[in-house]
């Protein structure tokens, strides 16, 4: 009788039954939602959730990864606002967090892929630093590929990097298209635990559309933008920026 009472009492107690995993999921929702809405405050709030979790989780490497992932989104936001000072700050923090993540889990392909992207950001901040950050970025993405050849986010980051890298330096639109196509194919089969990194599916279609647009293929660009919105109807980047750009140019 008493046992039953205690069991039921515990079941109805709020908050205490929340687990670290649930907070990770909350943080994931927050960052994806903030990214879709292109909302800096939301990105910072999501980052704050992961930072708070650091005090009570044994999944440190995953939390460091997610903090760096928030930094990655904040970096891109800062670039879009032309705020290089803020971008530099997030890049520096992101690299620091990923190094800790890799120290704790040396086979984390997602961390290496994101690290590659941050070194690419450093080149964007200081083009001459390409002489040393370019090889670093390349080495990190190679490492990510060697750890998990079928990680879709590695292909996505590789595709984005190729899009911004001139052909003569080992990039180009064709290469970007191929990598993004591969990413999309792999996203279709990805089946992970809910708390693991799984971002990028809708975004891959957005990037593929952008590459196709740059190659002059407007029709396929529109098709891919719409596919992006089928996966994430709230994808603000595609909905409010990429698609209207095409509509505007058609008008």
């Amino acid at each position: 009788m008493i046992r039953n009472f205690l069991v039921l009492l515990m079941l109805t107690m709020p908050v205490l039954s929340q687990t670290v995993e649930k907070y990770i999921l909350q943080g994931k929702d927050k960052i994806e939602s903030a990214y879709s809405q292109w909302n800096m405050n939301g990105m910072l709030e999501a980052r704050a959730v992961f930072e708070r979790l650091l005090t009570k989780s044994d999944k440190d490497w995953l939390l460091y990864y997610y903090i760096a992932y928030c930094d990655y989104r904040l970096t891109n936001y800062s670039f879009s606002e032309n705020d290089k000072r803020a971008a530099r700050k997030y890049v520096r923090d992101g690299i620091k967090r990923l190094k800790v993540c890799i120290d704790e889990k040396s086979d984390c392909a997602d961390a290496y892929a994101l690290l590659s992207s941050f070194y690419g950001n450093k080149i964007a901040l200081s083009p001459w630093s390409g002489f040393w950050n370019g090889p670093k970025s390349g080495r990190m993405i190679e490492r990510a590929f060697s750890l998990e050849p079928n990680n879709p986010r590695t292909h996505l980051i590789s595709g984005i990097s190729a899009f911004y890298t001139p052909e003569k330096w080992g990039g180009g639109k064709e290469m970007a298209k191929e990598a993004l196509g591969k990413a999309i194919e792999l996203f279709n089969y990805e089946n992970l635990e809910a708390i693991m990194p799984d971002w990028g599916h809708s975004e891959s279609y957005g990037w593929l559309g952008l590459v196709e647009l740059a190659m002059g293929d407007t029709n396929n660009a529109v098709i891919n933008y719409r596919r992006a919105l089928e996966i994430d109807p709230d994808n603000g980047w595609v909905k409010y920026r990429l698609l209207p750009q095409i509509s505007g140019s058609n008008e």
């Binding site: 009788m1 039953n4 009472f5 039921l8 009492l9 109805t12 107690m13 709020p14 929340q18 907070y23 405050n41 910072l44 709030e45 980052r47 704050a48 959730v49 930072e51 708070r52 979790l53 005090t55 009570k56 930094d71 700050k89 997030y90 520096r92 923090d93 620091k96 120290d103 450093k122 200081s126 001459w128 630093s129 002489f131 040393w132 370019g134 090889p135 670093k136 390349g138 080495r139 001139p166 052909e167 003569k168 330096w169 080992g170």
Partner: protein
């Protein structure tokens, strides 16, 4: 069964009721923690993460820096305040049911944000990193520097160029007063084509280096046996990928390869350079007449074994050889100067991190050197073997306190034999000469302890003490050193530094037959005051310094040498480096006064390197993605020379001007491969600068020493395959 189920439903309803009642009760009795977060200038900080460490309760500050957390967990708790770019703060608070807690919190900017600011006076760092004062790219694209790190550093203030060589005369100090190190090993003979003023090039190719630290004064207690300057270099680490580099120029061929045998665990680097200047001189002419054109070659091998994430071992070998036969002309003798040199460095370097706070770096090195020189009645055979063990320990107690400590033990075995002229101005083979043979052996050890303290975000100090012992003269020295910096804005620092420095007399001065084994170690006391402004596009520095020299060896008729020499130097160094969209580079100006009474100068007179004004502009412009142009202009006022017997350095030569330009064209290929084409015109103004005279013993006749080249060209290419 039914009864049980009914009971369960009743309990469920009761528990919901109790729970709701508790919630209602708690909502009536909440604790509030609120406040404002500011930066060190009292400006509100928005988007700061404020949370309790024992739960997920937390919030972020609003645009005015305000926050408010409502909680129903009472008692002593820790509130964490965290923001990117600022030091995280933990605050103990007691949450009460009635009284709200109101806090005003100030966050200090993170030290990491400031790491690129050089905190020691008079120092420059070079590496392939943002924020460094000299990058590898700077070294190889500086016109006139000939891709030589010594010559690139000569474009910085405080380094006087006394001729066209690479010798580093630092703030009124002789070339021998700057110690050169690689991975902790001392390079006893750091120059190629060695001469009295250093040598024509540095021994180590910049492509072998990952970082360089250069200090022109008031340097740390880590460095001993150097009166004026330090050049500490670090060789490349683990190769990241397979690569082959090939370069060919008018006077040199180079080949290098790197190979990660086990990626991130074991890697090897190999490189070699062969330089024959015959074609260069044939095309450009020149003032020198060669019996044997300058020829040099070197080979480099490094093997890196990273046995864990916390440490690695590196073996480095550098073997170099150079030969030259050039016509020596003076009023008393005209004949060939023939020189041949072998220089080999072996070094094993071990770097290990213990825990999160203790870092050790150790090196065990051997430097073997052999040189033969013949000119007229001067004939020298010199062999040195220098063995050294050095360990540096760094304990990072906190972000505010770092302790550095270490020791070095070394042994020198040196043999010099041959003959030298009785009068240094008469090298004629029939003139009187003295035959000698001398062995020199000395054991030295040194120990240092140093603290780096950041008292606040604004004030930092470095305090150190160094103790050294040299067996040959049985002398102990004790050198306290101190520097303090005050960062009065985020971009501006004021620094003061002082210290005592010792250096042992040269072997020939303490020789039992020809010198005086009772000489004291040479001493210098440095005083430096400096200002630095560092922003994203500009680095500006201005420094004033004074150096007081004592115990300098001076010729003495009874004891051969005595420690009665003295001197001083003072001056100012100004440096500005800028980075604009189309033009970048730096300019430096130095004013120097250097006077000494030492060696054969029996009264206080200007030193041979007392060059009062030095101005250098090293500018670069990048046009498009592929073309880079560089220009280096140098002006130095005339250096002193002795025109009359015993009137040492009483006259001055004319000023020297030199303009060098270079162009580089980069072509990139897929996979990170690239080709660089380059061409340079040296001494574009075709000025035949005068660097000195050779006199006869009576000082009635002289021969001019002029620039090796007038206007000259150099071109080549390098290709890198990955």
């Amino acid at each position: 069964m039914l009864r049980n189920k009914t009971t369960l439903v009743i309990i469920f309803v009761i528990s919901i009721f109790i729970n709701q009642a508790l919630s209602y009760h708690n909502s009536k009795q909440i604790g509030i923690v609120s406040g404002k977060v500011l930066d060190s200038k009292n400006a509100p900080l928005p988007f700061v993460n404020v949370f309790f460490t024992d739960g997920m309760e937390g919030t972020m500050t609003d645009e005015n820096g305000y926050f408010k957390i409502e909680t129903n967990h009472f008692g002593k708790r820790v509130l964490r305040v965290s923001h990117i770019g600022y030091e995280q703060k933990d605050i103990d608070v007691i949450v009460k049911k009635v009284a709200p807690v109101i806090l005003n919190i100030t966050l200090e900017e993170s030290y990491i944000e400031m790491e690129t600011v050089t905190i020691t006076a008079s120092s420059f760092t070079a590496a392939d990193k943002e924020g460094q004062t000299l990058t590898l790219l700077d070294v190889v694209t500086t016109a006139g520097a000939a891709a030589d790190i010594f010559k690139a550093i000569q474009t910085f203030p405080g380094v006087t160029q006394v001729d066209e060589g690479a010798g580093m005369f630092v703030r009124g100090g002789d070339v021998s007063e700057t110690i050169v190190m690689l991975d902790g090993a001392t390079l006893v003979h750091p120059y190629r084509y060695e001469s009295d003023t250093g040598g024509y090039f540095g021994m180590i190719n910049p492509f072998l280096l990952s970082g360089t630290y250069f200090s022109s004064g008031a340097f740390s207690a880590k460095y001993g046996n150097a009166l004026s300057g330090v050049l500490a270099m670090e060789s490349l680490g683990m190769p990241e990928s397979k690569s082959v580099d090939f370069g060919m120029g008018l006077a040199a061929i180079s080949l290098g390869a790197s190979y990660p045998i086990i990626p991130e665990k074991l890697g090897v680097r190999l490189s070699g350079n062969y330089s024959d200047t015959k074609t260069l001189f044939k095309i450009n002419g020149g003032t020198e007449k060669f019996d044997k054109f300058p020829l040099s070659c070197d080979g480099n091998l490094s093997i890196i074994y990273k046995y864990s994430n916390r440490g690695y071992l590196k073996y480095f070998n550098h073997s170099a050889q150079d030969d030259i036969g050039v016509l020596y002309e003076s009023p008393t003798y005209s004949g060939n100067f023939i020189s041949g040199t072998d220089n080999i460095l072996n070094n094993v370097y071990w770097k290990q991190m213990f825990g999160k706070k203790l870092l050790t770096k150790s090196s065990l090195s051997q430097n073997r050197f052999h040189q033969d020189i013949i000119v007229g009645n001067l004939s020298l055979k010199n062999s040195d073997v220098f063995i050294k063990w050095r360990t540096d320990i760094t304990y990072t107690a906190s972000k505010k306190l770092k302790i550095n400590s270490g020791f070095e033990i070394d042994n020198t075995e040196s043999t010099v034999s041959g003959s030298y002229p009785d009068d240094e101005n008469n090298l004629h083979p029939d003139a009187a000469s003295i035959t000698f043979s001398d062995d020199y052996s000395a054991f030295h050890n040194g120990l240092y302890l140093e603290s780096e303290i950041n008292f606040s975000q604004r004030i930092f100090t470095i305090s150190g003490l160094r103790v050294d012992y040299l067996s040959e003269i049985n002398a102990y020295t004790m050198d306290p050193r101190f520097s303090i910096g005050y960062r009065f804005t985020d971009t501006q620092i004021f620094k003061l530094a002082t210290g005592r420095y010792h250096q042992y007399p040269k072997a020939q001065c303490i020789d039992a037959h020809y010198g005086n084994p009772n000489l004291l170690p040479l001493e210098a006391i440095h005083y430096v005051a400096g200002y630095e402004l560092k922003s994203e596009i500009t680095n500006f520095r201005a420094e004033l310094y004074y150096k007081d020299y004592n115990n300098l060896p001076i010729k003495d008729y009874e004891q051969n040498f005595a420690s009665d020499g003295y001197g001083y130097s003072y001056g100012t160094d100004i440096f500005i480096k800028g980075n604009l969209p189309f033009i970048s580079g730096w300019m430096s100006y130095s004013y120097l006064v250097s006077e000494r009474k030492e060696l054969e100068y029996l009264k206080l007179v200007p030193t041979d390197y007392d060059i009062r004004h030095n101005f250098i502009a090293a500018l670069k412009s990048r046009i498009g993605e592929r073309n880079s142009f560089s220009l280096t202009y140098r002006y130095t006022s005339g250096k002193p020379y002795t025109a009359t017997l015993n009137q040492w350095n009483s006259d001055r030569l004319l000023s020297i001007q030199r303009l060098d330009i270079s162009w580089s064209y980069f072509t990139f290929y897929s996979g990170g491969n690239f080709l660089v084409l380059y061409a340079a015109v040296s001494n574009l103004l075709d000025r035949r600068n005068l660097y000195g005279y050779r006199y006869n013993p009576e000082y009635t006749e002289r021969t001019e020493l002029k620039s090796t080249f007038g206007r000259s060209i150099y071109f080549g290419f390098s290709i890198s395959l990955r």
